[in-house]
């Protein structure tokens, strides 16, 4: 199994040597290897497969599992709750700053299967953790289902940074095969001054439905969502976030960049909800969509519901193709048309990529 990761360019050993990143690898919903466990244990951080956590830390799992995403939340969350077999569990005790990036690689190998992993991250008072997940699957003509549930819990003054690079198999150029990526991800900022930040790069999957959300319960808590979603051929990405402002002085920022090409459809769908008690809440949302080609679609569907007059909610969105002026400028400096287009597309997603822990090469 480890050699499969080698082939995919995800050599666990090499990665850890280069970046000092602790890795948990989940293979068809089964955790196959977790590195750096001992080193993390020295500072009290628990990083292990969910199956081990259930055996070794039942009190923690019982306390938090299902507390953010109840099993009745939606069809796929229910399915996941019924059948999940593994996933990652992270527990960062009070006051601990997790000394390295934590990372999980997910891979769906078997044909016509589903992957139902469950991830739970708990950051106790004053702690910090950064977690990166990556996903791949081999090319197959049939569709496969990925229905994961991710729950984050941040207590007082804690911060969780959750990053995703999603590169599931998107199907071939005619839209045959590919992963159905129906994922429920939600974080609860339970404590005062807590912070949860979602960063995602969505490039794969035939269909993605994914709305990593923040429930901002604690006063002064902060939610962030940075997303780059690219689609091509017949892919469909429907992604966005929900920011539920409950506590006072809660703040959220949403930056979403969509790039669509081919015959793909790329949708931002998001909710900003300000409840009556969320005095002085702030939200800023920016969604930009870029269209490459005249057969693709870009859609922006924000929902804003405000019940507090002292809250300020701002949303702005634009949709266009790459500006002729920008292309002309690049061409005139000697870049080919293709390079000019890719330069412009990269530029549009720069804000979001810079918040990834392992900066991808441009």
């Amino acid at each position: 199994m480890l050699s499969t990761f080698e082939k995919l360019g995800i050599p666990l050993k090499e990665q850890e040597a280069l970046a000092g990143v602790a890795v948990d690898a989940v293979f068809d919903s089964i955790s196959v290897a977790t590195t750096y466990k001992e080193k993390l244990a020295e500072v009290g951080v628990i990083f292990c497969p969910m199956s081990e956590a259930v055996a070794n830390h039942p009190e923690l799992v019982k306390k938090y599992l299902g507390s953010v995403v109840p099993y009745s939340d939606n069809f796929f969350a229910t399915l996941n709750s019924a059948v999940f077999s593994d996933g990652s569990f992270v527990y960062v005790p009070e006051g601990v700053r997790c000394p390295m990036e934590l990372s999980t690689y997910f891979r769906i190998n078997a044909a016509k299967t589903g992957q139902f992993e469950r991830t739970l991250i708990v950051a106790e008072k004053g702690s910090y953790v950064s977690y990166l997940e990556g996903c791949t699957a081999p090319m197959r003509d049939e569709n496969q289902l990925h229905a994961a549930v991710v729950e984050l819990v941040a207590m007082d003054d804690a911060e969780i940074k959750y990053s995703t690079v999603q590169n599931w198999y998107p199907g071939d150029k005619d839209g045959k095969g590919g992963i159905y990526n129906f994922v429920t991800k939600r974080g609860a900022c339970r404590g005062r001054n807590s912070k949860i930040s979602w960063t995602q790069v969505e490039t794969g999957s035939a269909i993605t439905w994914k709305y990593p959300s923040c429930i901002l319960q604690g006063d002064n808590s902060v939610g962030e969502f940075y997303s780059v979603a690219t689609t091509s051929n017949h892919q469909q990405a429907d992604t966005g976030t929900k920011m539920i402002h409950i506590g006072k002085n809660t703040r959220s920022t949403i930056i979403s960049k969509g790039i669509s090409a081919g015959q793909s459809q790329n949708t931002y769908r998001g909710l900003v909800k300000i409840l009556g008690g969320a005095a002085n809440a702030r939200n800023y949302t920016q969604c930009d969509s870029l269209l490459l080609g005249d057969r693709c679609g870009a859609h922006t569907v924000p929902y804003i519901e405000s019940r507090n007059r002292t809250a300020h909610v701002e949303h702005e969105a634009t949709t266009s193709k790459i500006s002729e002026d920008q292309l002309f400028y690049c061409n005139q400096r000697g870049l080919s048309q293709e390079d000019a287009v890719s330069t412009s597309a990269r530029k549009s997603s720069r804000n979001c990529r810079s918040s990834l822990p392992l900066r991808p090469r441009n």
């Binding site: 005249d294 057969r295 569907v301 519901e305 300020h312 949303h315 634009t318 949709t319």
Partner: protein, 443 residues
């Protein structure tokens, strides 16, 4: 099927006899088909995306029988409430029935016809047959179908090609307590021929406190190079339900300019669907929801760019006080071949009280790449710095708040070309703002 839908189905045969145009076979067929569609689906619920933010339960709790009997005359006190639009051509409806007193639509220039729907069905049924219930359909057609099935009256305005109508046309709908517990299913048709120009002012006034339901559909066709300014004031009674749908089809190089101000009713929805079926079209949709006390005001628009090279600009604002709630849903569609489209939308909401609620859902659905589309939305209270500035100049807290609230909304009126309509709207707005400080909504 909602329970209430079935109550309408039971009563429908009894109501049919009172409907106009029973002698027209095509119309009876159209009505029957429409009713069958309504009967199948019933009232939309909040599970219908287009009605996500508006709960129809208060309207659906009882059956409103269509107003088919002859109405009372216009009460003597009303003419004072009719906005003075100078030389306007006016057609008056009282409790859903045409009322000749007060109507001044006889002296129209050549090439312009203004009739009641009842008259039109007698005198020019072919005209109605050609323009009724065309292909420009909303996403959720329940109320359109119900209207087609039960429509009793309305205004029909036709402007021949090339005719430029200087004076505005005023469609005035008055409802009194005599219409309590009944429904006015009104259908207006406006046809602006090639190269024509006109200004239409549609206004709804409720004088009583009774519950009634106005269900109005206005179908508009703006032909090539025509210019139509369409303004609306919704000032229904405080317990009224007002469900309005404007379906506008716009052709090459035409201008459609719409402004709607809503401040009445307990539950009101103003829905506009503009189909831009040509190039070089200039479409402007603007409006204001003014909500205080307990109303629920909903503005829902769809701008559908079907052909390349057209422009739309849309700005809607809401001021929400007391326990009121407002909704804005604005969808802009750019179809696959509608290249070179420019579409810009802005929605701003001002919350004045702790119990007020604003919901907004701007939506871009873009299927063409060579486009410039944007939308923006904000929800907040008054700007603290602006307040501080005015306070530092010696204005009281209340005076500063009133001034800023007024500034927020009155700028919307600046683009209305017709002075008398602009003043009529300004007057209605001033009355509303004056009531605002009285209710303590800004305390």
């Amino acid at each position: 099927m909602t329970q209430i839908g079935s109550a309408y189905i039971e009563r429908y045969p009894e109501w049919q006899n009172g409907l106009p145009g029973r002698n027209l076979a095509w119309l009876s067929e159209l009505r029957a088909d429409a009713f069958a569609r309504f009967a199948e689906r019933g009232f939309p619920t909040r599970k219908t995306e287009a009605w996500k933010y508006t709960n129809l339960a208060p309207l659906a709790k009882d059956v409103f029988a269509p107003q088919t009997a002859a109405s009372g005359k216009m009460p003597a006190t009303v003419p004072a409430h009719i906005p003075d639009l100078g030389t306007a051509h006016r057609i008056v409806f009282v409790n859903g029935r045409a009322e000749s007193d007060g109507s001044t639509h006889n002296a129209l220039p050549k090439g312009v016809r203004l009739m009641t729907l009842g008259e039109a069905l007698k005198e020019a049924p072919d005209l109605i047959a050609d323009h009724l219930a065309t292909d420009n359909k909303p996403e959720e057609p329940a109320f359109l179908d119900m209207n087609t099935a039960l429509m009793t009256e309305g205004a029909v305005l036709t402007i021949e090609p090339g005719v430029e109508l200087e004076a505005p046309v005023h469609l005035f709908f008055l409802t009194t307590d005599a219409a309590a517990r009944s429904a006015m299913h009104l259908r207006n048709l406006i046809m602006a021929g090639k190269g024509s120009a006109a200004t239409v002012f549609e206004s709804y006034l409720g004088t009583g406190k009774a519950e009634y339901w106005t269900n109005v559909v206005t179908e508009i066709r703006v032909e090539e190079k025509a210019r139509l300014h369409h303004h609306k004031l919704q000032s229904e009674g405080e317990a009224a339900y007002h469900i309005a749908m404007t379906l506008t089809k716009i052709e090459d190089h035409a201008t459609y300019d719409s402004f709607a101000m809503s401040l009445g009713g307990s539950l009101a929805r103003n829905e506009i669907r503009a189909l831009l079926d040509g190039s070089g079209i200039d479409c402007r949709l603007n409006g204001i929801n003014l909500a205080r006390q307990r109303p629920h005001l909903d503005t829902t628009t769809t701008i559908d760019h079907a052909k390349p090279g057209s422009t739309c600009n849309e700005t809607y604002k809401s001021v929400v006080g007391d326990h009121a709630e407002t909704v804005f849903q604005g969808k802009i569609i750019v179809r696959p071949d509608a290249q070179k489209t420019a579409a810009h939308q802005l929605n701003r909401n001002l919350l004045l009280s702790d119990e007020a609620q604003a919901n907004t859902k701007p939506e871009l659905r873009i299927h063409a790449d060579d486009v410039q589309c944007s939308h923006g939305a904000t929800v907040s209270e008054l700007d603290e710095q602006a307040l501080f500035y005015l306070r530092s100049r010696g204005l009281s807290e209340n005076a500063a708040r009133s001034l800023l609230t007024e500034a927020f909304v009155t700028e919307m009126l600046d683009d209305i070309e017709n002075i008398s309509i602009r003043e009529a709207l300004r007057h209605a707005m001033a009355d509303w703002l004056a009531g605002l400080s009285g209710t303590g909504g800004q305390a």
